[in-house]
Symmetry: none
Subunit: 213 residues, 2 copies
Amino acid sequence: MTARVRVFVVDDHALFRSGVKAEIGDAVEIVGDVGSVDEAIIAIRATKPDVVLLDVHLPNGGGRAILEGLASDLPDTKCLALSVSDAADDVIGVIRAGARGYVTKTITREELLDAIRRVHAGDAVFSPRLAGFVLDAFAGSVPVTSDPDMDRLTQREQEVLRLIARGYTYKEVAGRIHVSVKTVETHVSSVLRKLQLSNRHELTAWATDRRLL
Amino acid sequence: MTARVRVFVVDDHALFRSGVKAEIGDAVEIVGDVGSVDEAIIAIRATKPDVVLLDVHLPNGGGRAILEGLASDLPDTKCLALSVSDAADDVIGVIRAGARGYVTKTITREELLDAIRRVHAGDAVFSPRLAGFVLDAFAGSVPVTSDPDMDRLTQREQEVLRLIARGYTYKEVAGRIHVSVKTVETHVSSVLRKLQLSNRHELTAWATDRRLL
DNA sequence: GCCGCCATCGGGGATGACCCTGGTTGATCC
DNA sequence: GGATCAACCAGGGTCATCCCCGATGGCGGC
């Protein structure tokens, strides 16, 4: 560790930024810290830090807005998300936007320093429990079929549901499973009633939500 | 570590399997080891190990074939890929198929034991350098898109598009933007024509695809 | 043997979706 | 001043969607 890693801190709580500086300022070089999305994009472009510690929840778009604002302008600047949240959506969203790691604020000083060094070295760092979210989302992993709602549908109803949700008309579904349009209507009715939906658009949304397509 | 982790080893080189058993057999319980895809699927179903050490390159489909063969039958069995290859395609392929980690064979005994324990605990484990591949593929799988297609739509058309894609009826859209149903029809027609779509279902799919909702 | 559930099919009807051919207004550009 | 375009609106038609009422035959439980 000849040259200290140059770190930039983005968090809307000044107290938290002070804390970070006090805790790790001796081990890394804090080149700047701001509390808003707009300031962050400008200052990060200017200082070109090695690593950005990025709060996920910020006014005006959060950490994702910064990642998207920077786009891929700074290939040598890695972003490490640092958040109180361990919600899957937050993790996946910020990783999708380009963060190279995600750790929660419960992290210790040593763990944070290690995470910063590893991200700087090109590795990806996660609080262990969070990595699973990313893998699940990535594997497109879905199936885990135990769907109580889905189980209440008959085989035929599930078949029709899938086709309808993909946007086929009743006529097309009828042709595809070789029954009359009227039969398809009956099945769709049953599906809508059982799932307490009111039309095929809600059905599409329902299916998309569960990744049944 | 009261009960030892039950580990199954799949690798087409018997010598390597012997090596693994000799190295870590004292710290974990090796419940079986085989050298082919077919044997692996049968034996893993039978022994229900906690963790499967899985070689990526095997005759007849490799580690992916085993992951797909097991599907999600064994939710409590985690697979850790163990390979000589550090090629991005290998890493991504096997993770997509459902592996919970990927380490190279250059790993030390202690690191391997740690990886096994962490995978067993539900974490995801990577040789540091490889994690980047997964993130790249994941982030890259969704282009952030500034939309040339979208730009060809007028302001009003985009507004209508968003509402239609969310499943609102023409009447509801009309009420929401305070114009007549006929006007909505006109806008929808223009949108469908400009985007070369044939109905509102395709429009929903189009919008979902670009995450405009 | 009756009852319930499933899959199949039908008539009729109300409403929605989509297309076509029109029209008016206002802003902008040359 | 004419051309162009966005935004607005209308009539009329076809087909899709979704609901109401049925019906039949099969299959399994009690």
